[in-house]
Symmetry: C2
Subunit: 655 residues, 2 copies
């Protein structure tokens, strides 16, 4: 694949994109606005551009007549770049080119950090909780007729320096036949103790040498989705990966409705059965991708929030949602995965990430462990944003955590045209600074169906920075665009007219939508601030931010700072870890060090209940503005806003 | 109950018996012979005696006419003593009274030693592997909302000094409801670690204070019978006791046939199912006797031989019966009893006595532990005699053991009229020194059906000492009694004529029967001798003998020495422990010290295979006489035999 240069005129901005890139996305990357509101389907015909040098492919639509085509007009959203091209964006005559530079800023998302398995190997901590060892035993003779188990144990001591061994009854039952059918050559599956002084447990036996067939399953049990990875314990490699919606969704969209369902007669059992069915489905998919025998998966590591964990383990979670919010347990003993219905080798060991509290669960602990935050020197803020946001601050010496309810806005809930981050969701956005016409991007480049959480943040940030809304999220009614209108007594901005959507209505962003976003981001920002204050720190002392979770991976960093969801920080100091829960589960499958450390780390994670912290409400009220009551907390934004104001004044006076 | 004195004439021997005692049994106790061969049913009419002073009750039969009755004649076997009486036994005129003293010697069986639970309490080792603790926890509050499990564990540390705790998943599942339904007051069931540094496991929770309802089940899994005792863990008391034939008997009478059955398809599973069904039946009986709730039985201790243990645990035992006789394991981890089908509380912990080898099993280890042999200073010989005999020698510093096949003679097998020690079995016996007429005693005082093992030993000993058989077990054909006869080419002694039996034949002891006994006792004696020789000792160094097992409890010590089954030793140095396996299981339920010691003791028990020891066969051949080739090894018997010979010569010369 070769790269191509695309030059946008009159901005005179050039960007290098991979061959085949869509021209509209190239404009977004370049920070160039092109009106576009049909998501890239060529329906609205607004994204007309003139190809002045080179050629693009496709880009032709019935929205362009023969004359247009001959002149070189194309629709940007349908055009693909295969060579260096220069394209001109038709703009209103007389627009000062300085305005161009106030437009779209390129989306800023950091690359997702993957765990560094090589360094684990180098550090010598590449020791899975479950290991396989091959042994050749001398067969019994009259002068050496010790029992089979004794023979095994003595030989393990002698040859492998293994002491403190324990066997389970099923293993004892298998031993005589395995030994005699395989000429006393066999592979043992050993569970390593968490502590050095603990016992190693032999959980399985196989005839012959099968040491290189040793696999683990890492499973993130999310409220919405369940993801699994099959890990080769010899190489650390991921051999298969799959996900699915948590089947429990049919019994409640979020944690609270699930908790309520679990209290109905048979509800807990039903929810457990359903999540296990999802897990078995995910496992099935993963096995199909790999050529791995189910029998050789020796361990599963689960991580999930406190409610998901209790539902999975059939532990009544009803006290989680009632003050004083008491979970049943934070640590669970290892157990055989088959006992809870996982369709796997009977002996396979299930490990569960410990929880901190009712609302800071194993998914967060897994993220903290997997990201290595607990080993860092710098003051780090770990954020997992969803309907509930979990926050952890600290470093290698201390950790504090809390959770706050952000409401469903980031998942599209409570937003008039809100939807999950799925095909047809508007995920990116820019505005023409003069006409206030939009450029929208949807997931899957199809006509829009609605707005997802990251789109909502971007729209709000762009509109705020361009003066379309004020710091309380109210529309500026003096812009003279028909897109801002009042409907059902509510002010809104029309993102896409009905004919350009997949639905039978205009898609708009309303003032109540923006209000919901402000509440959501206010809750999280004030949560972070309150947590820091509780440990005597301030927001500007944060040296590193780790963003975990699906939402966190799609967020546009600068926009998130503009709306005041995140504090202003150098984007290089932000790490995106994606699914931190799954990452922690995978790490834990590969190195027993995680299991060794996690107990201590979990105990170190001091939990704060925001409802018990009076300053939280004050901080919340102060955060109910864009970006905040005190814009001084966001100095770069303040600077940009001042610069824009000056430019607009210049523009006005030059007209 | 008052005691009565019974004086027998012309012997002028007086014995004190409890009121209601049978006169024939009183004679046996007094060492007085009365002809009797119908087992006490008054059928043979041989046991006529004359009541000279006092009165007996009953004792009347159609075998006595009015004249006899008026003179004071009664049948001894039907008479009961309620006051002091003097009775005369009609003997042939002219018999020298010195002959009287050569007759029956009182049966010598030591009292069965019971474990000394009081001293266990005093020693402070009265700590069961499973304990109950009552706790009152403070309920959660906003400022103290730790998870339920954490609350429990922290409070246990604080209030009960309990550290290193582990909870199982089922217990975690029960916890929230138990706490809230019972005002945070609950009783915990704790499994104590074997080693001081181990973890205590919480296996059950109950609401309120149930600490005084803590029970254990001790189970002896014998090849023939299964015995159980329900133990109150607060007092050490046995609250119920029951036994039943092992249901596996239908699939094979002895260990070897069971092992063969287990190799058939589905055989192992069938045998396991059947023994568990027997156990559940025994448990049911015991629960009916006591008012104990099945839910409050927290632990079961099993002890059985190696084959019985493997069959119970569904561990393929097929290598036990094939050289080099390899059992699968000697130690088994604790497990939940319900897992093998025991109908008991799901959490109840099963503990299994470890084995030493294929033929020295957990029943023997339990006996060694229960009898305290492993703590003794003296050189002790522990013997459990059955179809197989297990032998242990040693003291607190060392232990050596072996097993030998005695054949089925002691259980009545291979004996023409042999039977198990059940109702109708001839268990005791004496001979008139001049007429050689028998006095027989049956179990249950009914007409005889056959001969049990202890009866066989007594008969052989009496006949040998009275010169009815020689030291090779051959009958003296010159005694002039019609009871010694040849039938089907085999010499035999008729114990009871057909009309006095429950069967349609005369019951007799044959030369092949005696030969079988000699082989059986020879195997055991030479086993003991060989084992001692292997550790550099001789038979006369043995300071203490412990006899375990049902057979061992009924054995007449002096008779056993006379036939050469046991070495000659002061009877006071012999302890009968009865069912040592059950005793060990009970002890182990009461004091964790047994569990602590048993691993080390089992390892200390050096196993010798007699088949690998060349001197065993020589010792066996030398032991194939009554009592032995070298009568010098039995000096007291030699002295008695010499004295008798002299008396008989005197008697002959006086006639």
């Amino acid at each position: 694949m070769t790269d191509c240069n695309v030059t946008f005129l009159p901005h005179d901005r050039t960007i290098t994109v991979p061959e085949g890139e869509n021209l509209l996305r190239a404009a977004l990357e370049a920070g160039v606005h092109i009106n576009a509101s049909c998501g890239g389907e060529g329906v609205c015909g607004k994204c007309r551009i003139l190809v002045e040098a080179g050629e693009v492919t496709e880009g032709i639509s019935e929205k362009l007549d023969r004359e247009d085509l001959e002149k070189g007009y194309r629709l940007a959203c349908l055009s693909r770049v295969h060579e260096d091209v220069t394209v001109r964006i038709p703009v209103e005559t007389g627009v000062d080119s300085s305005v161009m530079h106030m437009q779209v800023t390129p989306r800023r998302t950091a690359v997702i950090q993957h765990p560094d398995f090589e360094s684990l190997k180098e550090e010598g901590v590449f020791i899975s909780p479950v290991e396989k060892i091959y042994l050749e035993l001398p067969p019994p003779e009259p002068q050496n007729n010790m029992p089979d188990v004794t023979r095994l144990v003595e030989y393990l001591k002698l040859e492998a320096g293994e002491h403190k061994l324990e066997l389970t009854l099923p293993v004892i039952r298998k031993l005589p036949k395995i030994l005699r059918d395989n000429d006393f050559k066999l592979t043992l599956t050993l569970v390593r103790p968490v502590r050095d002084k603990g016992k190693t447990i032999i959980i399985d036996l196989q005839g012959g040498d099968i040491t290189d067939e040793n696999y683990a399953l890492a499973l993130d049990i999310g409220t919405t989705t369940i993801y699994g990875q099959l890990i080769d314990l010899s190489t650390g490699e991921c051999l298969g990966e799959a996900g699915d919606f948590n089947g429990q969704i049919s019994y409640g969209e979020d944690v609270i409705t699930r908790l309520m369902y679990a209290e109905k007669p048979g509800g807990l059992e039903k929810l457990q059965e359903v999540v296990v069915a999802t897990i078995n489905g995910v496992l099935e998919k993963i096995l199909k991708q790999s050529s791995v025998d189910r029998e050789n998966i020796a361990t599963i590591t689960f991580s999930g929030n406190t409610t998901m964990t209790q539902l999975l383990l059939l532990v009544d979670p009803s006290n989680i949602r009632r003050a004083p919010y008491v979970p049943t347990a934070t640590m669970y003993p290892p157990f055989r995965a088959s006992l809870i219905g996982i369709e796997i080798n009977d002996h396979a060991l299930a490990l569960v990430f410990p929880q901190v509290s009712s609302f800071v669960g194993g998914d967060i602990v897994a993220g903290v462990m997997g990201s290595g935050m607990y080993l860092n020197e710098e003051l780090t803020l770990f954020l997992d944003i969803g309907t509930n946001a979990e926050l952890v601050v600290g470093n290698k010496d201390w950790l504090a955590c809390t959770a706050c309810s952000a409401g469903p806005a980031f998942e599209g809930g409570g937003i008039e045209f809100g939807m999950r981050a799925a095909k047809g969701a508007i995920e990116d956005f820019s505005l023409d600074p003069l006409t206030f016409e939009p450029m929208i991007f949807t997931i899957g480049d199809v006509r829009p169906k609605g707005i997802c959480g990251s789109g909502l943040i971007t729209m709000t940030a762009v509109m705020f920075e361009m003066g379309v809304i004020n710091n309380r999220g109210k529309f500026n009614l003096e812009l003279g665009t028909e897109r801002i209108r009042k409907r059902n007594n509510v002010w809104e901005y029309v993102l896409a007219w009905q004919e350009n959507t997949q639905i039978d209505r205009d898609i708009a962003l309303t003032e109540p939508d923006i209000d919901n976003l402000i509440r959501a981001k206010g809750a999280i920002y004030s949560g972070c601030l309150t947590l820091l204050e509780e440990v005597g720190l301030t927001m500007d002392m944060v040296e590193h931010i780790i963003l975990a979770g699906g939402f966190g991976s799609y967020i546009d960093l600068e926009k998130a700072m503009t709306v005041g969801l995140l504090p202003e920080i150098d984007p290089d100091c932000v790490t995106f870890i994606g699914n931190g829960s799954l990452m922690g589960a995978r790490m834990s499958s590969l190195t027993n060090k995680i299991r060794q450390d996690v107990v201590e780390v979990t105990k170190r994670m001091t939990n704060f209940e925001l409802s018990e912290t009076p300053s939280y409400m004050d901080n919340y009220v102060a955060a109910m503005f864009l970006p905040h009551t005190e814009i001084e907390k966001f100095p770069k934004l303040k600077e940009r806003m001042a610069a824009r104001k000056k430019q607009m004044e210049l523009l006005d006076s030059s007209r």
